[in-house]
């Protein structure tokens, strides 16, 4: 008696498929499904209450959602640009150092080793209006005698969060760009010198095109990070005061767990995932273009 046999590759891959499905696909589908229901954590039976696209319509019409969305895009744009410039500067400096470079590189990676929670607490202390380092320093220097409300005023809080983000992640750029600088061949740089380039022109015309792919990789990685920005903000301001520093993910977190409106939270989550996907696609396009420029295949 012969049974139809499954192909070997299929049998071999099956466990991996099953595990992947269980870990990734099922929660994903479940959350997608729940975004079409009025699911509330406190009332499990609402999971079966299909309400169509109501949650999506509600999110799209919500001013809170759009202001959090806009603030996230703003944070993303400012943070990525500043981190890129700072990281580039840092990488160029470290690249110049010949003695003790190894040590510098290690030190540079320190912030990456910190948990974002820790970074949040650290900067919450630094920017505290009464006992914080910044205000103490400013007051000791006699620059001001008022307690600046760093984490209370909307704009100042945004800046504080930005600083914390940058402190913890500029090194991602610095490390990746440094790796790029190490990979720049010496010959074209020397050719450029002979061709009459000043150091700035060599950098602009030769080095920069070489490290552009590395910059885009860093941007793609970081855009995902910042679009998910939650922990630092959660700790430092909890999106407050009065939603002044609300980002998408703090809004979603509060809606889902504090207000227990899981279905609505998931709907907002899916909308904002498009934000992340859009940024990532954009940077990967740029990355491929930059690589094609260098003849590395597109």
């Amino acid at each position: 008696m012969t049974r139809p046999r499954l192909p070997a590759w299929f049998v071999l891959l099956l466990p991996a498929f099953i595990v992947l499905a269980a870990v990734v696909l099922i929660p994903l589908l479940l959350s997608l499904y729940s975004s079409f229901t009025s699911y509330r954590l406190t009332r499990p039976e609402t999971l079966y209450n299909w309400i169509g696209t109501f949650n999506y319509e509600k999110a799209v019409q919500s001013a809170h959602f759009w202001s959090a969305f806009g603030r996230t895009v703003l944070l993303l744009t400012i943070a990525l640009n500043l981190e890129m410039l700072l990281g580039l500067g840092l990488a160029l400096l470290v690249n110049q150092v010949t003695y003790g470079q190894r040590l510098l590189r290690t030190i540079m990676m320190f912030p990456m080793m910190f948990s974002p929670l820790l970074v949040g607490f650290q900067f919450k202390f630094i920017f505290n209006d009464n006992v914080g380092l910044v205000n103490n320093a400013l007051q000791s220097l006699g620059l001001t005698n008022v307690a600046i409300p760093w984490l209370v005023d909307g704009q100042l809080a945004f800046i504080s969060i930005l600083v914390a983000e940058m402190w913890s992640s500029t090194s991602v750029f610095a490390i990746l760009i440094l790796a790029g600088l190490f990979a720049v061949p010496r010959d074209p740089i020397e050719a450029a010198k002979v061709d009459g380039c000043t150091p700035w022109q060599s950098f602009r015309h030769i080095t920069l095109p070489y490290i552009m792919p590395f910059i885009y990789i860093a941007l793609a990685i970081r855009s995902l990070d910042v679009a998910r920005a939650y922990d630092i903000v959660q700790i430092m301001t909890n999106g407050g005061p009065a939603r002044r520093t609300e980002l998408i993910w703090t809004l979603i977190g509060r809606t889902g767990y504090v207000d227990a409106k899981m279905g609505y939270a998931n709907a907002m989550g899916y909308i904002s995932i498009f934000l992340a996907i859009a940024f990532t696609i954009y940077f990967f396009r740029k990355l491929n273009a930059a690589r094609a420029e260098l003849g590395m295949g597109g």
Binding site: D187, P188, A192, V194, D195, G196, Y210
Partner: protein, 362 residues
């Protein structure tokens, strides 16, 4: 258009000295070739002239300026690198025009210069490709083109042909020679290929271990090498060297063979002096298969160990005075190993070197 002068130029990497105070005067529009074995400091010397390597001592003058502390961009030089060093993200056109663009020349002028260079080097149809899509020979020509668009005072070439196949190398050698006749710039050219050196150079500079061993025209260094190193480095096959002792106007070699001291060296040797006799294969030929030798010559029998037919001539490996020597046979006929032949030695073209200093005795 410029002279280049090196005065006791020294290069050290930390405690390691790689160029030991070399002096060199290069005339305006002269074609000078630096040759020497690998690691002798040719590239280092070239890079010091270019300003890519700071010098540790001495003085470099280009035109009428001491350029010791000038960066490359102020020296008005072009350099062709051994491995092309093209800009991979620019098209051939942009590669060629880059230096002019940096110099902020008008676009029309850049286009004209690029088209002209592309014409000379047959690159016109590749102008819009990137270097990655070119063959080695084409990249080589782009590197050359990038150097010539600028009309620099001095061209510096670092083994520009070493990556090409034999045919392309010969072809490019001719192109370079033509280029020099056309643009009349000063050229410093590095190679370790002595055929390239002989065919291209107005003057050859032979280097070893960071020292200059001899400077001279191709004929001078071939016909009057100042020491055994130059004698064996220039010319192919290398000059045969035989140890001996001077006795009554003759050089006594091993195994009782004696050769009269060549006329030109008579006044410079003393009886009992230890010497080295230098003989090129071109001047050691079997009787009946030799060039006519009008001046003084000697003759002796040798046993042929091996023959290498080259077509118009055959290279013979034979034993003379206990040493293996190479000889040439014109109008060749097949020669069997172990065959004994009578050889003629052209004394007017022999060399004598002191056995201790290994310097020429002339």
């Amino acid at each position: 258009m410029a002279q280049v002068t090196l005065r006791t130029v020294v290069k050290k990497y930390g405690a390691l000295q790689v160029v030991h105070g070399i002096d060199l005067d290069i005339d305006d529009s002269e074609f000078v070739v630096l040759v020497g074995p690998s690691g002798c400091g040719k590239s280092t010397t070239l890079r010091m002239i270019a300003g890519l390597e700071p010098i540790s001592g001495g003085e470099i003058v280009i035109g009428d300026r001491v350029v010791n502390d000038l960066p490359p961009r102020h020296r008005n030089i072009s350099m062709v690198f051994q491995n092309y060093a093209l800009y991979p993200h620019m098209t051939v056109r942009e590669n060629l025009g880059f230096s002019l663009k940096i110099a902020k020349r008008a676009q029309g002028e850049i286009d004209r210069a690029v088209d002209e260079a592309a014409e000379i080097l047959s690159l016109t149809e590749y102008l819009d490709r990137k270097p990655g899509a070119l063959s080695g020979g084409q990249r080589q020509r782009v590197a050359m083109g990038r150097a010539i668009v600028r009309h620099p005072d001095v061209f510096l070439f670092d083994e520009p042909l070493s990556n090409l196949d034999a045919k392309l190398r010969t072809q490019m050698r001719t192109e370079i020679k033509k280029l020099h006749q056309k643009v009349k710039s000063t050229i410093v050219y590095v190679t370790h290929d002595q055929v390239e050196a002989m065919t291209l150079a107005d003057r050859i500079v032979i280097m070893r271990d960071g020292h200059i061993e001899q400077i001279g025209t191709p004929l001078e260094v071939f016909e009057a090498p100042t020491n055994t190193f130059v004698a064996t480095f220039i010319g192919s096959p290398p000059m045969n060297l035989l140890e001996g002792r001077v006795a009554q106007d003759a050089v006594a070699l091993a195994n009782g063979i004696t050769v009269p001291v060549p006329e030109a060296f008579r006044a410079h040797v003393t009886d009992g002096q230890e010497v080295i006799l230098g003989v090129r294969a071109d001047n050691l030929m079997p009787v009946g298969h030799a060039m006519p030798m009008e001046g003084a010559h000697a003759a002796f029998d040798m046993t042929v160990n091996l023959s290498e037919p080259l077509g118009t001539e055959t290279l013979l490996f034979a034993t003379l005075a206990g040493e293996e020597v190479q000889a040439k046979m014109l109008n060749p006929r097949p020669v069997a190993s172990g065959e004994q032949l009578r050889f003629q030695l052209d004394l007017t073209r022999c060399h004598l070197f002191d056995a201790q200093s290994r310097q020429s005795l002339r």
